[in-house]
């Protein structure tokens, strides 16, 4: 008890397939909590269970002290939700969308105008309030959805991939709003993403793969756990180099694209020695601090692959873009 979000042994089965195979976690009040994982990891499924959209097959969870199965309506009143897919009524104006939301959530009549003004200011859409949502750009729609999610002053705001399908500049903007929110409203933010750089901003990150959490910590701690520094090297014969590296330094080498990647304790000292004594001609070599991608790579042996946009993502992009 005492945590704003509390989850234990949460599972979701679809027929025989287990989409979420047991999640345990607690979220502190006021924290930005990130769910990081590749496509199909079960992030949305978990969020959907927590937000009462789908029923868990097993396990318990509470939000703001209310059980997500037994006290659905109290949970619903305590949370704001921004889905992976847009859920605006595009035939209505921004203001109408917000006003309807106030009515759905029982915001008192005399407070509506003021609240709408307030949330529109947070996302910089005040001058667009009378426009039909259909005419908005993808980023504007996203911002409007965030504003809408805040209208009823939720204790926890769930954001399922808030920036997917948006250009980098808009992504930055959305993040500014999210951080501004945390500062201003002090609400707890629970989000999913498969962008590494976004996970870095979170206070704590849960790494999810194939339906279960494989790590949960602050981004810094996660990276420290990976150990040493990361060396990326390209040679004229990667295959031979891989074998030779493993033999000479007993390191675990992963081939990612053109480069071979491995970890060492003291990166700079290693590099000097390595360049001098390695027999296969080196094309490029690079030393860097570990990123969350390396965390994922170490834990699963795979990359999250944020550069490949899946077909699903492309569709989302089209859906959200102007028609």
């Amino acid at each position: 008890m005492g945590h704003i979000v509390e989850v234990s042994g949460l599972k979701k089965r679809y027929k025989k397939f287990e989409a979420v195979t047991g999640v345990d976690l607690q979220v502190e009040e006021g924290e930005i909590f990130g769910f990081l994982g590749p496509n199909g990891a079960g992030k949305s499924t978990t969020i959907n269970m927590l937000s009462t959209i789908i029923k868990p097959s097993e396990g318990k969870a509470s939000i703001n002290g209310y059980d997500i199965v037994e006290e659905k309506n109290k949970v619903r009143a305590s949370i704001g939700l921004i889905f992976q897919e847009s859920t605006l009524d595009e035939k209505l104006t921004a203001n109408e969308n917000l006003l309807l939301h106030c009515k759905f959530y029982g915001v008192a009549k005399d407070k509506r105008k003021e609240r709408i003004q307030e949330v529109l200011e947070i996302v910089d859409l005040t001058d667009k309030r009378a426009n039909i949502v259909e005419t908005f750009s993808g980023g504007m729609k996203r911002r409007l959805e965030i504003a809408r999610g805040l209208l009823h002053y939720p204790r926890v705001l769930f954001l399922d991939e808030p920036t997917v399908g948006l250009d980098p500049q808009t992504r930055n903007h959305i993040w500014e709003y999210i951080l501004r929110l945390k500062k201003k409203a002090g609400i707890t933010i629970f989000l999913t993403t498969h962008y590494m750089d976004e996970a870095e901003i979170c206070d704590r990150v849960a790494v999810m793969d194939q339906g279960k959490l494989i790590a949960l910590d602050t981004p810094d701690q996660l990276k420290t756990n990976v150990g040493g520094d990361i060396i990326e090297v390209e040679t004229e014969n990667n295959q031979a180099a891989e074998a030779l590296l493993e033999e000479m330094y007993s390191v675990e080498v992963t081939a990612a694209g053109q480069a071979l990647t491995f970890q060492v304790d003291k990166g700079s000292e290693f590099l000097v020695k390595f360049v001098k004594e390695f027999d296969i001609p080196i094309c490029t070599v690079n030393l860097r601090r570990p990123t969350l991608n390396d965390v994922f790579l170490t834990l699963t042996g795979r990359e999250i692959r944020e550069e490949t946009v899946s077909g699903k993502d492309k569709m989302k992009h089209l859906k959200r873009g102007p028609h």
């Binding site: 959209i53 309506n73 309807l100 009515k103």
Partner: protein, 276 residues
């Protein structure tokens, strides 16, 4: 209450905003009245004895006969298609915004049915613009009587629509089911031609069709059969009866009201189980 109102308001607002749909809604009834109605007038006229017809049957005006049926058809179509918004909301994601709010599912379902009924009522009333071209007389008392009846019929049909919409995932599926449902119901309701001298099995279908009673109510209000010659009334199929009992207007109200309650109950129960 607020929830019911909000859901209702959204549907009504969107109906009046969609100008193309408003104008387009006149096309079907117009074609039925002008093409089908005028065409059939001649045919039916000559079947009843043509120019030589004497007495009350010479007063048979097919377009006039059809008009209440066209109103019924419009109310029926609009009401049942209003539920398409539920399927579309699911497709476009808005249904989730509605379903994850703390509103009760029952309020949402009732708001939806009331929204559909209101829209269908307006659409039905709009058909009265054809009145001057048809030759029926519509007075204010007739309109005042028509409004609650239209609303009641629309309420029953919207509930059927919601029941179907809640069970289907795509708008194509919904439209298919509705098409398959709409035509037999319309043809077997007496909206488009007089129902007399039918085979027994068809007569049975007519009698279990809720639309039959709805259309008959519109006819009773608009055509005022009590002022007609009995022979003409018979020819127009206005003596709807079951087991030799001529059904009265109040009985029809009762039938449709009871059906409304049953359908809205089923639709609400079904909607309460819907997943987002």
């Amino acid at each position: 209450m607020e929830a019911i109102y909000a859901i209702w308001q959204r549907d009504v607002l969107k109906f009046f905003r969609d100008k193309a749909r408003l104008i387009g809604s006149f096309a079907m009834p117009f074609m039925f009245l002008i093409l089908f109605g005028s065409g059939m007038s001649g045919a039916i006229g000559s079947m009843m004895g043509g120019e030589a017809a004497s007495g009350p049957l010479s007063d048979f005006n097919f377009v006039e006969f059809m008009f209440p049926g066209i109103i019924g058809m419009t109310v029926f179509n609009t009401a049942i298609f209003s539920a398409l918004s539920v399927v579309q909301d699911r497709e476009f994601g808005y249904l989730r915004e509605i379903l994850v709010s703390p509103m009760s599912r029952t309020s949402i379902a009732i708001g939806k049915v009331l929204g559909g009924s209101t829209v269908a009522l307006f659409q039905g009333l709009m058909m009265l613009v054809f009145v001057p071209f048809i030759g029926v007389t519509i007075t204010i008392p007739i309109i005042l009587k028509l409004i609650p009846v239209m609303f009641l019929v629309a309420f029953a049909i919207s509930s059927i629509g919601l029941l179907i919409a809640t069970s289907l995932k795509t708008s194509q599926g919904f439209q298919m089911v509705i098409q398959v449902l709409i035509f037999p119901m319309l043809f077997l309701s007496g909206a488009l031609f007089p129902l007399s001298g039918m085979p027994a099995w068809m007569d049975f279908l007519v009698k279990i069709n809720p639309l039959t009673y709805s259309v008959d109510m519109f006819k009773k209000i608009i055509l005022q059969p009590e002022q007609m010659e009995p022979a003409l009334r018979e020819a127009m199929g206005l003596n709807l009866s079951i087991f030799n009992h001529v059904i009265t207007f109040s009985e029809e109200i009762l039938v449709v009201a009871v059906l409304s309650i049953i359908f809205v109950l089923f639709a609400t129960i079904r909607f309460n189980r819907a997943e987002a």
